[in-house]
Symmetry: C2
Subunit: 147 residues, 2 copies
DNA sequence: ATACTAGTTGCAACTGATTGCAGGAGCGGC
DNA sequence: GCCGCTCCTGCAATCAGTTGCAACTAGTAT
């Protein structure tokens, strides 16, 4: 647990409290590479503080998500995953057939967002999407049965 | 229950069986206006056949979803909703602040899909999206706190 | 009509996630 | 340093959705 000063400020400025539990959850997310499930965060925090409750993990990631500090993604595995939001915004292309995951630059969604805002006035959040479909290889193999 | 002949054919052609339970679930979805939750489908079917199990409802909508006969949408209410796929493909713009729901024409997503396919070779499914964000009114009121 | 088989059902147990509540703790003001 | 308001936590109950399994059945072949 270290260097979380800015995050703590963001929390306080928005009327939230910087509790030890939150800092531990924050730290787990910050120092992880890529996505973590709620259960993984839970296990990680338990090493330092065995009394945490899983509901605290869920409530904390909800707060962090609302503050746009972490992104939430349903990768289609049954468990939702969370990721610390870093500089490089990206999305995931998940193949329904072979479950491979590729990255998609934020640019594509940015254009879509701008277009929707222009034409409808609705300002979409397109922070972190999981887009399902068929990857190149599986299309080639054409064993994608769907219809 | 009527006029489900084509659907029954699609089921059979894909190696599925047209069971009474499925026909009732199908009928509930077909004759409903808009979205239904699994629980709503369940209640509806129970009127005709009180022995259905909720797991049958879930398994059936999964099959129908895979066949692209119904679309699944998480409207952010905690319950997933299902909708019979009709001619007019559309998406939903859901305001995080006031929970209002607006429609978005499929065209926007179609362009994005084509672009992704061209540049990455990944063929995305963009059938029916729920896009969260801030509606025009709530942006104006600027009581959208986020960050 | 009968038999066979793969897909389906209902049940019960289970998993991931959410919620209500009473006690506890952060943090801004004095 | 202490007070008090508000937010937060852990617990337990609950909800939405999934899964393993044995019994059953739609649809096909005979």
């Amino acid at each position: 647990m270290s260097c979380e000063v800015e995050t703590v400020q963001v929390l306080r400025q928005t009327g939230h409290k910087a509790t030890p539990q939150r800092l531990m959850i924050l730290s787990a997310l910050r120092h992880a590479e890529g996505h973590l499930t709620a259960a993984e965060i839970f296990d990680h925090v338990k090493l330092d503080y065995p009394y945490v409750d899983i509901s605290t993990v869920y409530r904390t990631v909800t707060v962090l998500k609302d503050l746009r500090l972490v992104s939430e993604t349903d990768m289609g595995t049954g468990e939702t995953t969370y990721e610390w939001v870093r500089a490089h915004r990206h999305h995931h292309l998940i193949c329904r057939s072979c479950d491979s995951v590729a990255s998609l630059d934020h640019r594509y969604l940015e254009d879509l967002g701008a277009e929707i805002l222009d034409e409808t006035g609705f300002k979409p959040d397109l922070d972190h999407f999981a887009i399902f479909g068929a990857c190149k290889d599986c299309q080639a193999r054409a064993d994608v049965v769907s219809r």
